[in-house]
Symmetry: C2
């Protein structure tokens, strides 16, 4: 399905928030998140690893969804958990909390974090706020606001660190898709090889960020960390512009046709920190990886240097949408630049088993 | 991704047509159609089977896309082929026609069929007009208009017959999705079984037509033909309301949780007709099958009678969108009714390998 020709229109903040929160009103996204065992198990372990700091304490769960993290905190001995959730999934969280007999400890508060009043300061903030490419959805902003308003000095952030990585890749699926048009003649006796250029323009010259699983074989160098956020200290201004440099040495001969961006978050722990990584070298998560296609593939060999700068910032069209600008050079070639964005749609969440077509999102006007 | 809470807004015909034609401007849908060997090979065979009626004759290709069917007709000896295509893919069709050296025979005409003037009447109309559930996209209307305006009396229609089928099915994937919530407790120690009802409401009570491949094992009875369209005779009024009855006897014990609707089209042939079938019992095509979920599953046993009426008609929200109303009874239970629609989005075409999120389609206003 191509959504070509759509006109861009800037949404005001309340309208955008409404669409955003509604994207969490369906079961599919919650099914996908709960079924993501890397995600849910890591949070569970992180909460139980920090049992000593949670027992008898007050916890705030920002964007609680179905309330699963709040239940974990109650099970870990929290005295009180405030589960703040703006979407209508809050009603299901209520039921789940009752079903698990922790309704005396967990209180669901329906509303946007910024608009909610808590009766007390909290000792711990837990939140699963990470979007595609870490910063899509801008939910971290709400977590930071929550920290500044409600977390006691010296309180615990779960997670407390986020890191962003980049690596050059060879997306073989795209190569095969481009090559497809040269195979048509042998199949049907019609030469369609001239479609390759058009396919390249549609697929690679697109400035869209594509979320898909990158396989280990596709990765052309060790990934490089280009930014790190200390969640105890980061402020909203930092989040409006996250930047960093990278220098990658390629493993061997390949057609470099895209960058891959991914993240990891770290949970503090009495013994050792726990990392939730979305690296292509680790088991797949529902975040997969963010793939940024170059307009044209570039041939690299062993030790070819790919270096540059990455800049992530919220899109002007919708402040919850992330843009990624990359300046890069390959070996001695001249510097190139490309700006990528998650399309101006409001597709924040992706179901596990999507239907084969989606509703057209129309605005209330 | 849930597109919950979208407001319905009726598009006017030109705006709807624009969105519809633009959905064919991207490479993905054409890649999917050409890569569908059942589709493309059957058209190729049908055209060469009718070589005697095409040689030296004039052909009209309605909605020519990349022009592959027009090239087949030229290869089969047509004197002239008018390849009418409203989307910008027409520019690629021009290139393909030149690359195959049939530019003296094939003329690409960019425009909507209804707005196009041909210099002469034609002997043959070929068109691959079938949408999901046959009638989604309403492209057959254009083929009928073309037939009435441009086809010589006694001219050849390729295809010349379309049939619609229905069968009760057990969609196991949905059963597993509903059951997922009962498995969470053993995985994470949190009982989320109360989510099953919510999941059922989101997934099954939805009135959306879901396009997905139905496996043979899912089908609970012999499919029943409920409507047949003679493309030499059908008129626009017929297409505004396609109706039929069905009576199915179940094979054995199962949870009947959906209907599946699919189609076949037939090409005339000197020796024997050629059928392009999208049955779940035949190799998969890019049309897959249309699945209509019941609000609740019904247990059936061997020889349980499932019978009723199907009514297909264009949605009021967008005349290119199909609605399917089903009245049905299972054994002695009382009659139930449900109306399904392809959502009010403008997602006519589905790419082979979709990106993981789609642009929000915004209208020009």
């Amino acid at each position: 399905m191509s959504h070509a020709g759509s006109k861009k229109r800037k949404l005001d903040k309340p309208a955008e928030d409404k669409l955003y929160f509604e994207s969490y009103a369906d079961v599919s996204i919650h099914e996908e998140m709960i079924a993501d065992t890397v995600r849910t198990d890591t949070y569970r372990k992180a909460i139980f690893n920090n049992k000593s700091q949670i027992e008898g304490k007050v916890v705030l769960d920002v964007g609680a969804g179905t309330g699963v993290l709040s239940v974990f905190c109650a099970q870990a001995g929290a005295r009180k958990v405030y589960a703040v959730e703006a979407s209508s999934i809050a009603e299901q969280a209520e039921k789940i909390i009752k079903q698990n007999k922790v309704e005396d400890k967990v209180e669901v508060i329906k509303g946007a974090l910024e608009a909610v009043e808590l009766p007390e300061q909290v000792d711990v903030i837990v939140s699963e706020w990470m979007g595609y490419a870490l910063l899509h959805e801008s939910m971290l902003n709400s977590v930071i606001s929550a920290r500044d308003r409600w977390l006691k000095p010296g309180g615990l952030m779960l997670p407390d660190k986020a890191e962003l990585f980049i690596a050059p890749i060879n997306d073989l699926v795209v190569e095969e898709r481009l090559n497809f048009w040269s195979t048509v003649k042998s199949q049907y006796g019609v030469d369609m090889s001239c479609m390759t250029d058009f396919a390249r323009r549609c697929i690679m010259a697109s400035a869209e960020i594509t979320i898909k699983p990158v396989t280990v074989e596709d990765v052309l160098s060790h990934p490089v960390k280009f930014a790190e956020l200390d969640l105890n200290a980061v402020n909203l201004e930092h989040l409006s512009s996250v930047k960093g440099r990278f220098r990658c040495l390629c493993f061997g001969s390949a057609a470099f046709n895209a960058f891959c961006v991914f993240f990891a978050v770290t949970f503090p722990g009495s013994r050792h920190p726990l990392v939730l990584s979305t690296s292509p070298f680790k088991p797949e998560t529902h975040w997969k990886q963010a793939v940024l296609y170059l307009d044209q593939a570039v041939e690299v060999v062993q030790d070819t240097l790919v270096e540059g700068d990455v800049h992530m910032y919220p899109s002007e069209e919708g402040s919850r949408h992330i843009c990624i600008h990359v300046d890069y050079t390959v070996a001695e070639e001249k510097k190139k630049s490309k700006t990528f964005a998650i399309s101006d749609g409001s597709s924040y969440a992706e179901p596990l088993k999507r239907k084969n077509y989606d509703g057209q999102e129309e605005e209330d006007d």
